[in-house]
């Protein structure tokens, strides 16, 4: 076991700061996309408060950061979980900085801006050469960098916002000559009407997506002309009410697919591009469920992804971006690869798991990163869970379970059976590794069985 930084982290630091030893202050602001979306008119949707699950996912930074780094989190991680990471897994842990003033309805960057003591500590780190590394930059992280005098290790908010639009993804895919998913970019209601009229002449459903939609939200599938008419009607009413017919949407053909893919590139400050990994993404009704490694692809399919990685990375660099970008792709039923479904030029779930896969995913073995939806009757501490999972947490011939985020387990604790219908309940984020697919499946089942003893899994688990 080693308590040194992973090669993955050292490469990231080198790409973003030029030095593999630069101390970083990680801010895992999963809600950043919501900030970018505020400036664009998407699909109409009910108001949604920030979800606690997203806020608690910020402790994923523990997996990526190393000794000498710090993670900035709204909630202090469970002490038992920290012992597990440090003692059982042998991970060199970062320092943890929790702002002294927190509220549930604002981002951690805003909490820090309202916490003078935490700001002072962050400033002290800045004086020792630390850089601030948010998952993506919004105006809040820009303000934090200025207030704490800790320079950003990544681009400014305007650059992030520009390159994270699905309209941007579609346009550069076409410009680079990569095989696009058939579809249209729509920036006015008139363009949307035109796109839907053209789509009506082609077989199969279409999906309309917000240019700034977050995972599993901001999209609607239209499989009949009546549904397309309904959507246009609702948008026309909104335009009439606001006097603004702008939209930021893409319309795409729903392609029957064999697999979803996710690959990650890192673009360094000089424009160099590295393909970090390719994973098979598991989704259910458009909502991300996990990743399988390695992805089941042939040599030609891999080659196309390598070309796409190089070209998209080069274009991002030319447009002022440097940092990590996750790219979603699909393998159609006919095995054709559409290498750019969308570009998420920010940290992704997989970004945080990179160090863990380097440590625990042995060559030739298979791995599954997934979460188990859970609902506990009362709040749990990690040591409760540790007793339940027992030997599954240790290396064995049948594989091993690694807990990658515990903070999300207690979301909705105590709500079991109250019928509140909250869509987000507790989640246990994990990485499973095994020598082969059969043993991986058996391990997955064993984890579900173990959890069923104490935690009531949701019906859709």
């Amino acid at each position: 076991m080693t308590r040194e930084s992973t090669d993955y982290l050292r490469r990231l630091k080198t790409a973003l700061t030029g030095d593999p030893a630069t101390p970083l202050a990680f801010l895992c602001n999963f809600e950043v996309e919501t900030q970018w979306a505020r400036h664009h008119i998407g699909l109409p949707a009910p108001a949604a408060a920030p979800t606690e699950v997203v806020q608690r996912m910020e402790e994923l930074g523990l997996l990526l950061a190393g000794p000498g780094d710090v993670i900035l989190v709204k909630n202090a991680p469970d002490q038992g979980y920290l012992r597990y990471l440090g003692e059982d897994l042998g991970i060199g842990l970062p320092a943890v900085l929790v702002p002294e003033t927190t509220t549930g309805d604002r981002s951690t960057a805003e909490d820090l801006l309202n916490s003078p003591q935490a700001l002072d500590r962050l400033s002290a780190l800045g004086r020792r050469g630390a850089r601030l590394i948010p998952m993506g930059t919004s105006e809040f992280e820009e303000k934090l960098a200025v207030s704490a005098q800790v320079p950003l290790a990544v681009p400014d908010a305007a650059t992030f916002e520009r390159v994270n639009s699905k309209i941007y993804s579609r346009r550069i895919t076409e410009e680079l000559g990569l095989p696009p998913v058939p579809g249209w970019c729509c920036e006015t209601l008139g363009e949307l009407r035109h796109a839907l009229a053209q789509a009506a002449g082609l077989p199969g459903p279409v999906v309309v997506k917000d240019a700034y939609g977050v995972s599993g939200k901001g999209l609607v599938v239209l499989d009949t002309a009546a549904k397309a008419d309904r959507l246009v009607r609702i948008l026309e009413r909104r335009a009439a009410r606001t006097g603004d017919d702008r939209v930021a949407l893409v319309v795409e053909h729903w392609i029957p697919k064999r697999a979803d893919l996710n690959y990650q590139i890192t673009v360094d400050r000089r424009g160099g591009v590295r393909l970090d990994f390719v994973k098979q993404a598991l989704t259910e009704r458009g909502v991300h469920q996990g990743h399988l490694m390695p992805a089941d692809l042939n040599d030609d399919q891999h080659a196309l992804l390598r070309r796409a990685a190089e070209e998209v990375g080069g274009r991002l660099a030319a447009d002022g971006f440097f940092g990590v970008a996750g790219i979603d792709a699909i393998v159609a039923d006919d095995e054709r690869v559409h290498p750019v479904l969308e570009i998420n030029a920010r940290f992704n779930m997989s970004t945080y798991q990179g160090g863990m896969t380097e440590r625990f995913h042995a060559p030739g073995h298979v791995a599954l990163a997934r979460h188990y939806p859970v609902r506990s009757a009362a709040p749990l501490v990690f040591d409760d869970l540790r007793r339940v999972l027992g030997p599954l947490l240790f290396p064995a011939s049948g594989g091993r379970l690694i807990v990658t985020c515990f903070g999300t387990v207690n979301i909705g604790a105590g709500n079991a059976g109250t019928g509140d219908g909250t869509p987000h309940q507790g989640r246990l984020y994990t990485l499973l590794t095994a020598p082969d697919h059969d043993r991986l499946t058996a391990l997955d089942r064993a984890v579900q069985a173990a959890l069923a003893g104490v935690i009531q899994p949701r019906e859709d688990s």
Partner: protein
């Protein structure tokens, strides 16, 4: 339109979105946990409700609390229907 008619309209719309029958539902049935609707279905559900009830819904005027159960969504729609009735009467 009375409350039981609104409930029937919502159940029809849910069935259309899920593309299956949804028997044995009550006002307490939870849209996400019991019927497995998800966040991507909300706009489609509201569009379907508009057609089955012949009302105009502004999705941005709702919050997620209205989607807890069949009953909470019916509460919101009942309010809309009452508003229209009052407007017509006036």
């Amino acid at each position: 339109m009375n409350r039981s008619e609104i409930v029937a309209a919502v159940v029809r719309a849910v069935g259309e979105v899920l593309q299956r029958d949804v028997p044995d539902v009550t006002e307490d049935t939870r849209l996400f946990d019991d019927l497995q609707l998800d966040s991507t279905s909300i706009l489609e559900l509201l569009m379907a409700v508009e057609d089955t009830m012949v009302v105009e819904i502004d999705p941005e005027g709702l919050d997620m609390d209205s989607f807890r159960t069949i009953g909470t969504l019916v509460d919101y729609l009942q309010g809309l229907v009452d508003l229209v009735s009052t407007g017509n009467a006036g």
